[in-house]
Symmetry: C2
Subunit: 194 residues, 2 copies
DNA sequence: GTGTCTCCATACCGCTGCGTATGGTCGGCT
DNA sequence: AGCCGACCATACGCAGCGGTATGGAGACAC
């Protein structure tokens, strides 16, 4: 009779299922883009029917917005984690960030990013999310350059170059040309950070 | 009775109509991606019906491949034109190339490029086209760096940095942050070319 | 047992889109 | 005039998807 959570199991289960839907949706987005995110095929992949989907989500748009929110939160959390540095470790953090984000191994994450950015060209909600992520990433790297003692203008320019390079590199089918040559990579990293 | 082109009007008209279909398809791709390229909606936009489409194309896949070929030819022609330089003008040509390709004004072209690259992640034909375009762009800019007297390794590294930067920059919603500051832009261009 | 709430299945409607079959129109050729 | 080929309209079958309505199984309370 206490005002303890009378429906906690229900609420917890509901939230967890919703997260499961979003996680599965991200896999679809990585493979087929947001246009390929279909309610029925997603339900089929999860072993349920549409009836379940429309219990957890209002409609398809509701799922897309939830995916966008989840993606934004994850990207902001990740860039803050990767660019964390104790005083004196800023340069190493910058190099580490370039390594991580320019890694061709993260194929799924890159696909998701490309899909969302393409979608954002036509959707205002998506555009806002992408802009928030871009702003946070630029701010995090700019903060590192500032900590290295660079003037504000140069810190902004270097962070812009770093971000554009990393992003552009990841968007290419980056295996063909001799980019794996450590020499080339080191030259570019030095060109950006030093 | 001469063996002159007996069906030239027919052939010319057929080729022109096919080109018109492809041109219209590129507009759709820029707006809705390749997934949004639908036969019936495209026909409706051109003021005809599906009956016309299936006369000029075998099926939807045939149109997509034609669009890919058209895009590849246009991109290769364009990069060769932009990077053309008489001896002594290589540096100016590099700067011009960066200006042109990092221009936010070419919104339609950027959308098409993003759409095709996303599509190429799932389609082998698209992947081959994107790789050809990438290889040609890298080769053209590398040639300019080589003409400036740089060693081969550095020319390759600079061309990779240039391409990745330009491409990454164009993919962002590039208006928000202070990138229009000519100071920032000049710093980056100098960092790449000098 | 009865009720209630959560979660999902089933059935249905409407729409869109692909591909085909078929017929019709128009211009050029003889 | 008559034929033929290029080009397009019309109509059809089929499948997939969004969204709704409704029912049903299970847990839990009383």
């Amino acid at each position: 009779m206490d005002n303890k959570p009378p429906r906690k199991p229900a609420a917890a289960r509901e939230a967890l299922d919703r997260a499961a839907w979003i996680a599965a949706a991200l896999n679809i987005v990585a493979r087929d883009g947001i246009d390929g995110l279909r309610v029925e095929s997603l339900a089929k992949q999860l072993g349920v029917t549409k009836g379940s989907f429309y219990w957890h989500f209002k409609d398809r748009r509701d799922l897309i917005d939830a995916v966008l929110d989840d993606w934004r939160a994850g990207r902001i959390r990740d860039i803050r984690k990767q660019t964390a540095a104790e005083p004196g470790g800023e340069l190493a953090a910058l190099r580490h960030t370039i390594d991580v984000y320019a890694a061709a191994k993260n194929r799924k994450g890159i696909s998701i990013e490309a899909a969302i950015r393409l979608w954002a060209r036509q959707d205002s909600n998506g555009l806002a999310v992408v802009e928030e992520v871009d702003a946070e990433r630029l701010a995090c790297t700019r903060r590192l350059f500032l900590a290295l003692g660079l003037p504000a203008a140069e810190a902004a320019a270097r962070s812009a170059l770093l971000y554009a390079y990393v992003f552009g590199f990841s968007m290419m089918q980056c295996g063909r040309f001799d980019m794996d040559a450590a020499q080339t990579k080191d030259w570019i990293v030095g060109r950006i950070t030093q």
